[in-house]
């Protein structure tokens, strides 16, 4: 399909460069992997388009498998609620993905509670409350303009008192370039740790698959102030492929945990490196 003219000529490699850049793998990763695969090709005999694709796929999968990313599972001996915090820039799908996580985690009968810590954006609390109602999951909220850390604190107190299995914290979208807003997130963590020094168990960065290179910058910046444990990659039901997560894993060691593939609460799939790479270069 790459118009192979019978040899791996410049056009062949240019086509691969185009294909990899266009799924947002970025220039550096693309050139590095193409050099590696091209350099690793032995005799003329084994250099076929199929082999090249296989080798590129293997390289990408090995990067994505280097850190396992999986959703948390509450074990019998864990007393307090597992705390999951979701952060990210504006509009990436945090609130919707939290609804999806709530649905998934409560499927086995686990008790999930949500904290509406976006006390800033218009109708943010109502949006999460509607999801809570749809899923039969309680939402802890306070007034707009209040301190998100105070809401988080009260939510963890309530979740603990009610023996909840999971507490998921929704936060306001914010650009990583705004220091005061990034400090606000760090404060939420500090305040939660007054109740339980072991939390949060998971801090997920929500990234929109349509993002270009800035997604990698976002990951680095959020990781500076928070113990990020994974990436939630959303909107993969579109045409964007989210290749930036390869750089994020390679450079920062942060794995992808789950993928958003639509606007319903059921549109969440757990991350599978092989399937994901097939989507990137298949």
């Amino acid at each position: 399909w790459l118009g192979w003219s019978g040899k791996l000529d410049d056009d062949f490699w240019d086509d691969w460069e185009e294909a990899m850049i266009e799924v947002d793998l970025g220039v550096e990763t693309t050139l590095e992997l193409l050099d590696k695969v091209r350099g690793g090709l032995g005799s003329k005999k084994e250099a076929t388009p199929v082999i090249v694709k296989e080798r590129l796929g293997e390289e990408l999968v090995s990067i994505l498998e280097s850190e396992a990313g999986a959703l948390p599972r509450k074990s019998k001996d864990r007393g307090n609620p597992i705390v999951i915090m979701v952060v990210g820039v504006n509009g990436t799908g945090k609130t919707t993905t939290i609804a999806k996580l709530a649905r998934k985690l409560s499927a086995d009968g686990s008790l999930v509670i949500l904290a509406a810590c976006d006390t800033f954006r218009a109708a943010a609390i109502e949006q999460l409350q509607i999801w809570g109602e749809r899923l039969g999951v309680e939402v802890i909220s306070q007034q707009y303009g209040g301190d998100p850390a105070a809401v988080a604190f009260d939510a963890l107190k309530a979740a603990t008192a009610r023996s909840c299995d999971y507490l998921i914290i929704d936060t306001a979208g914010r650009l990583h370039t705004r220091t005061t807003l990034m400090d606000e997130l760090a404060k939420i963590v500090r305040v939660l740790r007054k109740i339980d020094p072991g939390v949060p168990d998971e801090v997920y960065l929500c990234l929109d698959a349509t993002f270009g290179r800035n997604g990698v910058v976002q990951a680095a910046k959020f990781a500076e102030v928070l113990p990020l444990t994974g990436v939630l990659l959303t909107k993969l039901d579109g045409t964007a492929r989210g290749g930036m997560v390869v750089s994020i894993q390679k450079e920062l060691g942060i794995p992808v945990v789950a993928l958003g593939v639509g606007e319903d609460a059921s549109d969440l799939i757990e991350f599978n490196p092989v399937a994901f790479v097939e989507g990137l270069i298949g």
Binding site: E17, E18, I21, E22, V23, D24, G26, V27, V89, N90, G91, T92, G93, R121, A122, A123, E126, Q127, Q129, I130, W131, L175, H176, T177, D208, A209, T210, F211, G212, R213, N214, G215, V217, K235, D237, G238, T239, A240, M244, E263
Partner: protein, 291 residues
Amino acid sequence: RISSKFQTIFKQIRGQGRLSEKNISDSLRDVKLALLDADVNYRVVKEIVARTRQDVMGEKVLQSLRPGQQFIKVFHDRLVEFMTDPESELKLAHTPALILLAGLQGAGKTTAAAKLALWLKEKQKLSSLLVAADLQRPAAVAQLEVLGNQIGVEIFKGKGKSPLKIIGDAIKYAKSSKIGCVIVDTAGRLHIDEKLMEELRKIKDKYPPDEILLVLDAMTGQDAVNVAVEFDRQITITGSILTKLDGDARAGAAISFRSVTGRPIKLIGTGEKLTDLQVFDPERIVSRILG
């Protein structure tokens, strides 16, 4: 980072009496990489580089270069020229004027709708009616209501489940209330969602808007061309509002958008406040993209 890349590229060109073919090839390769790093789409970059190579080889550029003048300045100016459009103002011919906002999920449409209403009120003394035509997202109508209340602009919440009907009713209401502009906020949708794209087409066909603006996130990467081409192909957009430019994304999507649609970017979003809306400045966006 990129600016130092560009400075070195063109430092090699400046101060040289005559450019060798090798200088040009190397410099163009560096231009290509720099633009790709800024998220400009691959094929768009290829086109830009090819055109630049033609100009340089054809000596159009070199002849216009005075001794010591940096090639980068010429490249920069060419790009600014490319991003400039004489039709970049809002064309609001009808009474009431009709502005339709469309775009992917989370791009910033609802916020942009309210920003536009405030903009028209303050800059053009034009009253607006904000139409809550997103019946899909939880609390979307409530969101627009909160924003409308913040700026003293009326929100039209229709009855029933059809955005098309709500828009028709809103236009009637605006006419009878002598409101100057109807701004329609729509549900976020994928350009590949046939049903939702058809919904937009039906709106456009029944109530031809004065402006159909694609609201596009400045952080968008290579996918910008797919979104832009498809929205333009299906509903013939008149321009774009590029949002979230208050971040540090290079915003190469701006060049991709312009390149594949030929439409102007009319306004930019520079923050979450309703006052954070500015006229698109081609000079500033090119400087940002070229680093």
